[in-house]
């Protein structure tokens, strides 16, 4: 399996300069330079629900400012894999993980990592749009308020506006921020959820089939957005939609029954799959 050669891009997201530097410093202290090892590295990751092993020895590396796709048939473990990255399954009974999930060289499952803080750096967007039943503004401001990221009202206004702009929603809702989020269409709600995640200023955005519950037009907008977002963020996408994976993915991981079957640059995986299973899946005969 080839490791992707990440682009040597060190784009500094607005307002994230210091954090980016911290990350780089941390990398250096680990004897790594730049993105050599990837922003996120999974090492021999196994996950269990009780006795049932749902992820088997997954090792892969997710590069900064790329869209990395986990694809595979239902039940292959792709969502579980995604949720190990921000420890969303912590509260699930009998769920446990072995191996490592390294972000900037730190294992997120080590005792020194606070899952609450981890989740402010690794945001998440879900399959079903899940805005809070409050105003559009309050939805986006929710995270910044909880984490006291802003000092003044105008600062908060600014964060809300920037986040909505980044989520390509500002033009549609800028004049009605005080309206309920539930009045928006499904696609708009999903982009609002993306804006809400961005407002906490994460480095990584995990997306769990974010377009699968949307109509084709809205789904396309969300796809476009993923490509835009990778300029400033690292996007990890779970999907079972191969066309989507091919359109937006830089790297693609194909999972089957909890195992990583193939991982590589999207073009290679789709045009020249190395594994017979991958080929079958792509042809729709798996």
């Amino acid at each position: 399996m080839m490791k992707p050669e990440p682009e040597p891009v060190h784009r500094v997201a607005s307002g994230q300069g210091t954090r980016e530097r911290e990350i780089l410093d941390h990398e250096r202290s680990k004897g790594l330079t730049g993105d050599e090892g990837g922003l996120i590295r999974l090492q021999s990751l196994c996950a269990y629900y009780g006795e049932q092993k749902v992820l088997d020895e997954i090792s892969l590396s997710i590069a900064r400012n790329r869209v990395t796709v986990f694809m595979g048939p239902s039940g292959c473990g792709k969502t579980t894999l995604l949720r190990t990255i921000n420890r969303m399954n912590d509260g699930v009974r009998k769920f446990r993980v072995t191996g490592q999930v390294l972000i900037n060289g730190t294992d997120v499952y080590s005792s020194e990592v606070d899952p609450i803080l981890l989740r402010t750096r690794v945001g998440m967007v879900f399959q079903k749009p899940n805005p809070f039943p409050i105003s559009i503004y309050d939805n986006v401001a929710f995270g910044p308020r909880i984490h006291k990221l802003t000092k003044t009202k105008s600062e908060l206004d600014q964060v809300v506006r920037e986040s909505l702009e980044k989520a390509a929603l500002w033009e549609e809702v800028g004049t009605r921020l005080n309206k309920s989020a539930l009045e928006l269409s499904g696609g708009q709600q999903q982009r609002l959820c993306i804006a809400r995640a961005l407002a906490v200023k994460p480095e990584v955005i995990l997306m769990d089939e974010p377009a699968s519950a949307l109509d084709p037009g809205s789904a396309f907008k969300v796809e476009e957005l993923m490509v835009e977002l990778k300029e400033n963020y690292t996007v990890v996408l779970v999907t079972h939609n191969m066309q989507q994976a091919a359109r937006v993915g830089n790297e693609v991981a194909f999972l089957y029954r909890g195992e990583l079957v193939e991982f590589g640059p999207a073009e290679e995986v789709f045009q020249n799959p190395k594994n017979a299973l991958t080929e079958k899946y792509i042809r729709g005969t798996l």
């Binding site: 609450i116 989740r119 809070f132 984490h147």
Partner: protein, 333 residues
């Protein structure tokens, strides 16, 4: 076959008729009760007028001298004012809500958001079991354990250290307002916590995960997502609990010290409530030769009926609206 068919049709008609009769009997009973209260209450309403609502003294008069007031017989010197019982009802129930609400919400929050599933299920069972304890048993416990405890330890300490707060200083009695409020608060915990828990448990997991993914702690998710989501139903459950406290009789009879002709001035004062007073006084009222005390008690019952019915209607509207709006929300998402 034909005969069988017609028999079945007849049976079906009988079935419809019988179930209609039985079904409407609830309404019938309601009107029967209301009619009795009205018939018995009218003489008191006419004789006592507004004084009934504004005076403190309840005095059936001198039992040997019969007079006539506004066309109805009454004992000379009779005076019927409900203020002691009315205020006692509202204050003790309000106190019960003040103590019971945080307790119930704590229980509900623990059951839905903190306790592991297995513990939550078994604990829920015990909380609901609490609802099945007869009120006289609560009263018995209040009489034997709680009130003496309050009198010997709690109230003296409160009066000494918190006496600067109006209504908290002064002599202590044990049996009285505080004891009544506490016993009532325990009695409303099951109903309030059960309904709140159900409403909170209906918070869509998607919303909780949204909060979790934003880096919220469990407490923040409970406070900022779950509680706002269940707000209406929680308020409804509180009013329903209030309804129960307002009508509660036996427990209050045992711990209130059945005050008469005196309004409570501190947290410890003996009190009386509409229902407790009715239960205790009815026997002696039957010996009133003019019958006016029975009429006055009927008017008390009418007042209590109106208070509790209003509370229940408000509560049901709130509880229902809470659940309906949450269902709508689910559809929209």
């Amino acid at each position: 076959m034909k005969a069988g068919g017609s028999w079945r049709r007849t049976a079906d008609r009988v079935y419809a008729l019988v179930s209609a009769l039985l079904g409407s009997s609830a309404l019938l009973f309601l009107f029967m009760v209301l009619a009795v209260l009205a018939v018995f209450g009218v003489p008191s309403i006419i004789v006592n007028g507004l004084n009934f609502f504004t005076t403190v003294i309840w005095n059936p008069g001198i039992s040997t001298t019969l007079t006539t007031i506004r066309g109805f017989p009454a004992m000379s010197g009779a005076s019927y004012g409900m203020l002691v019982f009315f205020s006692g009802t509202l204050i003790s129930s309000g106190l019960a809500l003040l103590i019971g609400a945080p307790l119930s919400l704590g229980v509900a929050i623990f059951l839905t958001s903190v306790a592991p599933k297995r513990l939550s299920t078994s604990l829920s069972f015990f909380v609901e079991l609490l609802a099945g304890i007869p009120s006289v048993v609560f009263g018995f416990w209040g009489f034997l354990v709680l009130a003496p405890l309050l009198f010997n330890y709690v109230e003296p300490a409160m009066a000494q250290y918190l006496g600067f707060i109006p209504g908290v200083g002064g002599p202590v009695y044990g049996y009285g307002l505080l004891a009544s409020g506490l016993v009532l608060s325990l009695m409303i915990v099951p109903i309030v916590s059960a309904i709140s828990r159900d409403a909170m448990a209906q918070t869509p997991v998607e919303l909780k995960e949204a909060g979790m993914a934003l880096g919220m702690t469990n407490w923040e998710i409970t406070r900022k997502v779950v509680l706002p989501y269940a707000k209406t139903a929680i308020i409804g459950s509180l009013v329903l609990g209030l309804g129960r406290a307002l009508g509660e009789t036996m427990a209050v009879v045992l711990v209130s010290q059945s005050a008469l002709n005196v309004l409570p001035k501190t947290l410890y004062y003996p009190i009386n409530t509409l229902s407790a007073f009715m239960a205790v006084t009815f026997d002696s009222a039957l010996t009133d030769p003019s019958g006016m005390e029975v009429n006055a008690i009927a008017e008390l019952a009418l007042v209590l009926f109106i208070i509790t019915t209003t509370a229940n209607i408000v509560a049901r509207l709130l509880v229902r609206r809470g659940f309906i709006s949450s269902a709508e929300h689910l559809v929209q998402v």
